[in-house]
């Protein structure tokens, strides 16, 4: 089975801290940070390295703040777990 890994880039100055992406993420990759941006909003940060690139967060984000990358990794050999 190929494993899929993802990465999100968050435009923190444009984030309004609405938390809809946090709610929509099935992996709990995202959380609201403590710092604030130039608008005075707490913005979202990545807190776990487990993003699968499913794009849920980007689709629900009203302000088009999130860019998503996804890569499929083909293991060199299948290893039974």
């Amino acid at each position: 089975m190929a494993k899929v890994v993802g990465e999100v880039i968050i435009d923190i100055e444009r984030c309004k801290g609405c938390e809809l992406c946090i709610q929509a993420c099935p992996e709990q990759t995202l959380a609201l940070g403590k710092a604030i941006n130039h608008k005075g909003y707490q913005y979202v940060v990545k807190v776990n390295d487990n993003c699968t690139g499913c794009v849920n967060c980007a689709i629900i984000c009203p302000d088009a703040v999130i860019t998503v990358y996804r890569k499929s990794l083909k293991p060199k050999q299948e290893v039974a777990v």
Binding site: E7, K16, E19, K39, I59, I60, C61, Y69, V81
Partner: protein, 264 residues
């Protein structure tokens, strides 16, 4: 465990060939003024995705309303015209008739479309004007701080129905899409939402479908989006999307209300 395959660094993933979502290019690279979590922003975003994907950025003209989305033309990188409150369908009629080869749409709130503009919207629909109406139904007058709209549902508290809407004295909530669907000039009426990932995907498809019908000259298309207004509903954005799901959608069920006969 296939441990080594997990040792992948961000730089290996963040590459152009791995890009799966980015901000649509037809959405201008500026901050939108909407409140955090407001569905207006989500609809702007997905509609600009549709415009970009269909390659019609230079062939579409929008009409912005009065309401919170009065500045829609500051965000959509397309030709747009501002209409007086409620008059978007009248303005769009003129534009589409003079420039029939352009895609034309109005973008209107429920107050704009169903209250002050009820007359214009109804008659444009009845004339079968060949444009798209994007109808953002948040069941309230958002811009003016939360008065009751024709779409406010039974029992809903607003600044002008502080004890909840009572249809006996305040009238019944109006389902505008259902009202116009039987008219022969109306080609497509659908009700969608943007409160969940799945609903956002469906709403985007409906918007695209409506533009395809317009291209075929089928007539008036209305895409209603049951949306939120966290600020005037006095909820967090997450709570407001749950309210859409649990309270508004049961009254305003999602799905197609009228679809055109398929032309083969």
């Amino acid at each position: 465990m296939a441990g080594e395959v997990l040792d992948v660094v961000a730089e290996d993933i963040v590459r152009p060939e791995n890009l799966v979502y980015r901000r649509p290019s037809a959405l201008l690279d500026v901050d939108m003024h909407y409140c955090p979590g407001c569905g207006h922003s989500t609809v702007h975003k997905i509609f600009m995705e549709v415009v970009e994907e269909m390659g019609i950025q230079h062939d579409i003209i929008g009409v912005a309303p009065v309401g919170c989305s009065v500045f829609a033309y500051n965000y959509m990188d397309i030709d747009m015209q501002q209409a007086a409150h409620g008059r978007a369908c009248a303005v769009a009629t003129g534009i589409k008739r003079m420039l029939p080869d352009k895609f034309v749409f109005t973008y209107q709130g429920d107050g704009d479309l169903a209250a002050i503009g009820g007359n214009e919207t109804l008659h444009a629909a009845n004339r079968g004007e060949n444009f798209l109406v994007i109808f953002i139904n948040n069941a309230i007058y958002g811009m003016t701080s939360g008065q009751m709209a024709p779409t406010t549902i039974d029992g809903m508290v607003t600044t002008t129905s502080p004890y909840g809407r009572d249809p006996k004295t305040m009238g019944y909530p109006l389902k505008f899409g259902d009202l116009i669907a039987p008219l022969p000039g109306v080609a497509y009426v659908t009700r969608q939402a943007v409160n969940t990932v799945q609903n956002v995907r469906r709403a985007k498809k409906a918007l695209q479908r409506a533009l395809e019908y317009q291209k075929q000259g089928l007539g008036f298309c209305l895409v209603e989006i049951v949306s939120n207004c966290p600020s005037n509903w006095k909820m967090t954005p997450v709570e407001s999307n749950k309210y859409v799901q649990n309270v508004l959608i049961p009254f305003y069920p999602l799905g197609d209300i009228k679809v055109p006969e398929v032309k083969k």
